[in-house]
């Protein structure tokens, strides 16, 4: 019985340990040199020595339960390849920041919240000296704390929501989590500004000021002022990394991988755990990993972890309810605002594509070139689909986010690498 776990964050490490404890020959594939994922960056984690840990490794394609892997320095043609046949796979590839576009979001000095966090924790670098944190959700708090640790002056945290949704889910909100968040608020000594957002960034070659707006509940702008900054970091929740799940044919639900209580997906042998199944934080991810890793190895369901998953998912539901993305962000855009950073596709170009009668996601992409650049729509795909849906509201036109998530080559591969693959691996 061979279990392959993909992703070395809290969910993946827990899944690999559970699978090896349940007696499976276990492989843990992770793209980073050390384990821990984005959550434990700068604080490498260990895994049971019986697990075969493939560091600096990425699964770039799947064929049934055969995984194609490259190992070596990021984007290097010297990477080596192997194919591993699994009896079961656990996808624990996590999520990256979602950022809704706004004028100037492509200026240097504008970072995702995850970038600010990774540079602070992994590289000891502050993205600026006068920094605003903007977006929605409790993840902005640890980001602000990391920025302070590396010497940035955090001018404030703008949350486009009020967080009042918590109060409507009193039983769902987890007391430990609430205490953790209050702890941040007390330690940070920075202003948390509800129903406020950075809606534009200004500067020539680098951000020098931002427009901060007071928002209405639907995120349309009520009033605005200009604030001098030398950096801003932005995060409007997260986008799960779904490439492998989509390639394997796993069903999605509400933009995440659909799983049962054991972490099993709709495809036999394929399991998922952590943020790819819903955003709930590291503790829930680890509990989901333990359950899915055990189930993938054919072991009995661990009752304590199952209970943690149930309570964690209630917390995650409260989190999602309290920090929605409201459609008013679409009114922040100017005609020349880039939506797709790679192909430099403006809001105007998207509107023209819809006016030219784009009849679905494929024609929309081919007409405007949105999502066809280097990142393959990873940064803009969700926002582009939301904009297209609004722009085409009068017509029977359907835009589905899944169409922008189909990437048979899951991670970038050099043509020379592809050309050198042995034929039996293709």
């Amino acid at each position: 019985m061979r279990v392959v776990v993909i992703g070395g964050g809290p969910a993946g490490v827990a899944a690999a340990e559970a699978a090896v404890r349940a007696g499976a020959d276990t492989v843990l594939v992770d793209s980073e040199p050390t384990l821990g994922g984005q959550f434990h960056r700068g604080n490498p984690q260990r895994v049971d020595s019986r697990v075969r840990h493939l560091a600096n490794s990425t699964v770039w394609a799947v064929q049934g339960l055969r995984l194609h892997i490259r190992t070596g320095p990021a984007d290097s043609p010297t990477r080596t390849g192997e194919a591993i046949d699994a009896d079961a796979v656990v996808i624990a590839t996590g999520a990256h920041d979602r950022v809704v576009p706004f004028p100037g979001w492509d200026l240097p000095g504008v970072y995702t919240a995850g970038a600010a966090q990774a540079l602070a924790k992994g590289q000891g670098i502050a993205i600026g000296q006068r920094v605003l944190v903007s977006g929605t959700g409790p993840f902005l708090l640890p980001v602000a704390e990391s920025l302070k640790h590396v010497g940035a002056n955090v001018l404030g945290i703008c949350d486009a929501n009020t967080g009042a949704g918590w109060l409507r889910h009193p039983r769902a909100a987890n007391p430990t989590k609430i205490a953790e968040l209050l702890g941040y608020a007390i330690r940070l000594r920075t202003s948390w500004q509800p129903r406020t957002a950075v809606v534009a960034a200004h500067g020539d070659d680098k951000v020098s000021a931002v427009t901060v707006a007071k928002l209405n509940p639907d995120w349309t702008i009520r009033s605005q002022r200009r604030v001098a900054v030398d950096a801003v970091c932005v995060g409007h929740g997260f986008t799960p990394r779904l490439e492998l799940a989509v390639s394997a044919g796993c069903k999605l639900a509400d933009g995440f991988i659909a799983v049962d209580h054991t972490g099993a997906t709709s495809v036999p042998g394929w399991y998922a755990a952590g943020e790819v199944t819903g955003i709930g934080g590291a503790d829930l991810a680890a509990a989901e990993g333990e359950v899915a890793g055990t189930a993938a190895a054919g072991g009995p369901c661990p009752a304590t972890a199952l209970a943690k998953v149930r309570s964690g998912r209630r917390f995650a539901a409260a989190l999602a309810a309290a920090h929605p993305i409201r459609p008013g962000w679409q009114t922040w855009l100017a005609d020349d605002t880039l939506v797709c950073r790679c192909e430099e596709v403006t809001y105007r170009a998207l509107r023209e594509a819809i006016d030219l009668d784009a009849t679905g996601t494929r024609t929309f992409k081919l007409t405007s070139r949105v999502g066809l650049g280097l990142c393959q729509g990873r940064m803009c795909g969700r926002s582009a689909v939301d904009l297209a849906t609004t722009l085409a509201a009068q017509r029977r036109t359907f835009f589905t986010p899944a169409d922008l998530q189909r990437r048979p080559i899951a991670t970038p591969l050099r043509l020379a690498e592809l050309a050198s693959l042995p034929e039996e691996d293709l």
Partner: protein, 80 residues
């Protein structure tokens, strides 16, 4: 560890990424877009957005935020 960035020698520490070294050197952008020639540096910081591309030892299009520096690396940016 010694590395070269746009022909200038720098010292680097194990675990430091190319992006970490460029930012520590005070550079916030090192590439321009094909269309409008707009400056780009780090955006996502975790290997997703491809804004931060550099050339490493003659190989183009390497994500600076993902690549760890190694002894003797020759880093070239588009906008030195």
């Amino acid at each position: 560890m010694r590395v070269t960035i746009d022909g200038v020698q720098h010292s680097a520490t194990p675990g430091q990424t190319v992006a970490g070294a460029l930012l520590a050197d005070g550079r916030t952008s090192w590439r321009t877009t094909r269309g409008a020639g707009k400056p780009r540096g780090v955006f996502c910081g975790i290997g997703v957005c491809f804004d931060c591309l550099v050339t490493v030892n003659g190989v183009a299009d390497v994500r600076a935020c993902q690549r760890l520096l190694a002894e003797g690396d020759d880093i070239r940016t588009e906008e030195p």
